[in-house]
Amino acid sequence: MLTGKPNGAEIRQTIHRVITEIVERSGRPAPVFGDDDLLADTGLASLDLAALIARLERVWRVDPFLEAVAITEIRTVGDLCRTYRDFIDAA
């Protein structure tokens, strides 16, 4: 059970920040992206996505992709933000 749940804007901000950090850490230039952009277009490779999920689990202690959601349903950055927001709201 989460206490002090983050709001949608905080979730979005955190996800955008962690995506940027992961892409930069892999030696690529900082991506410029919005919620409508495909995750693949941010520069994240599939295993980067796993790293992103792990980083977000450390922040919010949830992993929606363990059971509730199929990662294949997530196409855009906005999809990812909404998934976390809905999952955290329901927790």
Binding site: L47, A50, L52, A54, R58, D63, E67
Partner: protein, 244 residues
């Protein structure tokens, strides 16, 4: 430098306890679980009452949510998981045409599914950190056919396939995945063999004896170590030459 953290499934008895013991001696922090405690667990907890280097929880490896909670707890407690040893297994032996469906389900659930789910929980953080080592405990029965162990063999062979595929997938993130396939070694699992069966195994083994838990654990420790930094996707058979 921080001590490496290893998660070992089924670390209370037999080979699992042997691996846990060996890892503790080598300086690892050991986090393990099993359905029930054992003299080994009791002694380790007495030596380390605050869980600084040894952590055990009672978990049935067939419960996904319990496994996920365990992994999260270990990450919170020690800050990382550097290595995973998928050891948990049960042996349900006997004539296959007479085996109960529930025994088949139990074997697949514990020997295969539980270990895959545990790896699924541990690997995201390894990917995020860009390092890790996984050792799956297979069996000589995964590489040679033997009567009376069909389902057990199927689960262990599947674990070897899992090892190779995962090694390919996670290698680019510096995560190594190997399996160890022990032959017959002194343990509860061979306790059910008749004296005649034991003699036949020893007779067919070029090195002329059963293995020991310590010998198997030593190889697991090596595969986890930096000395095995260029080994991944392999199944190391430890059987005194039985299958050569």
């Amino acid at each position: 430098m921080a001590r490496p953290v290893v998660v070992i499934s089924g670390g209370s008895r037999g080979l699992g306890a042997g691996i846990a013991h060996k890892c503790l001696d080598a300086g690892y922090i050991v986090a393990t679980f099993s359905r029930s405690a054992s003299p080994f667990i009791d002694a380790a907890q007495q030596r380390d009452p605050h869980g600084e280097r040894f952590h055990w929880t009672a978990i049935d490896g067939r419960e996904d949510s319990a496994l996920n909670r365990f992994v999260r707890d270990v990450n919170d407690r020690y800050g990382a998981i550097d290595a995973l040893v998928n050891n948990a297994a049960i042996g349900r032996f006997g004539a296959f045409p007479l085996m109960r469906i529930s025994e088949i389900d139990e074997s697949i659930s514990v020997n295969l599914r539980g270990n895959i789910v545990l790896a699924r929980s541990c690997t995201p953080a390894m990917v995020a950190r860009g390092s890790g080592s996984i050792v799956n405990i297979s069996s000589v029965n995964a590489v040679r056919g033997n009567a009376g162990v069909a389902v057990y063999s199927a689960t262990k062979a599947a674990l070897d396939g899992f090892t190779r595929a995962l090694a390919r997938e996670l290698g680019p993130r510096k995560i190594r995945v190997n399996s160890v396939a022990p032959g017959y070694f002194e343990s509860d699992m061979v306790g059910g063999l008749s004296e005649r069966q034991r003699r036949a195994i020893v007779r067919n083994t070029p090195l002329g004896r059963l293995g020991t838990i310590d010998e198997i654990a030593e190889v697991v420790l090596f595969l986890l170590s930096p000395g095995a930094a260029f080994i991944t996707g392999q199944t190391i058979v430890l059987d005194g030459g039985l299958t050569c």
